[in-house]
């Protein structure tokens, strides 16, 4: 009895594997049937299609005495519905000070420090952030090359 059951089960499994999932058979002349085509969110290699790229300029020059300097980065994304890329620009040390090779400092702050893209699919959407330096800070600073490193953090948010 067990053998019979085992053989029967094996047959059922084989049939289940080999038979394509035909939902409808049209047997009558002029008959109709329906089928669904559905995309996958993965490509043929199994990689997730959703993704984004944030392109950040290597170096951003602030002219001397400029109290407000705009800089741009771009975002290209293709995400799920109601999703978008958010980018935050910040000074990782939190002190918002540019320094020169002598240890002299120049205070600044960042305007428009984050941006959320217009939608899930954007092509090189340009985003602007602004580096601001007070006139008083410029006036008090020895003329030198001051610099700081900014961190860009990208995340996916609901929109």
């Amino acid at each position: 009895m067990k053998k019979i059951l085992a053989v029967a089960l094996a047959l059922v499994m084989m049939l289940a594997v080999s038979v394509p999932a035909f939902a409808v058979d049209i047997a009558a002349d002029g008959g109709t049937g329906e089928s669904v085509v559905r995309t996958s969110t993965q490509n043929e290699d199994g990689e997730e299609a959703a993704g984004f790229t944030v392109s950040i300029p290597a170096e951003n020059i602030v002219p001397w005495d400029a109290t407000s300097t705009d800089f741009q980065y771009t975002v290209t994304s293709q995400l799920a519905p109601n999703k978008a890329v958010r980018v935050d620009v910040d000074d990782p040390t939190g002190d918002l000070l540019m320094t020169d090779t002598n240890g002299l400092t120049l205070a600044y702050w960042i305007q428009n420090s984050f941006a959320v893209m217009d939608g899930p699919v954007v092509d090189a959407q340009a985003c602007t952030f602004t580096v601001c330096v007070d006139t008083e800070a410029w006036d008090a600073a020895p003329v030198s090359a001051y610099s700081d490193t900014l961190t860009f953090t990208a995340s996916i948010v609901d929109v």
Partner: protein, 159 residues
Amino acid sequence: MKKLLAMALAVVMMLAVCVPAFAADITTDGGTGTAIIKTSTQTAGGEDGAGFTVTIPAENTIYWDAQSTSLTYTVTSQLGPNTGVQVTVDDTDKAYVMTDENDYTLAYTLADTTGITTSPVVNAQAFAYTVNVAEAAWNAAVVSEYADELTFTAELVAI
């Protein structure tokens, strides 16, 4: 051949100018990238941010019989780190003699003829130099208006 090379070089240079230097691409959710902000020592108009002004009184009055008269000038500067302005006051013709319209003369000396700013960035820092006329010279002088021309020389020095 030369023309071709020149054109190729021109194209390469144009491309080098046009392509922005994107340092980093962020492609993952929560990914980060960094960029540098750096000040230029030139303004947006291409002018050098460093500079100084020495303000010299057009005329300095020495009262009759005054053996020591302190006269001032001011320096405003914004320079590179560890750089100051040195101002030297001297008689243009090195004779150290004031003359009147009748060519009468009055000898004098100068003291504290060199001033150096205390910092790269100073705002109207005042300096005094002294014009000395000996009592004997006053006593021997015909009462008249004596004058001489002084030269102020300003230069950058390490401080």
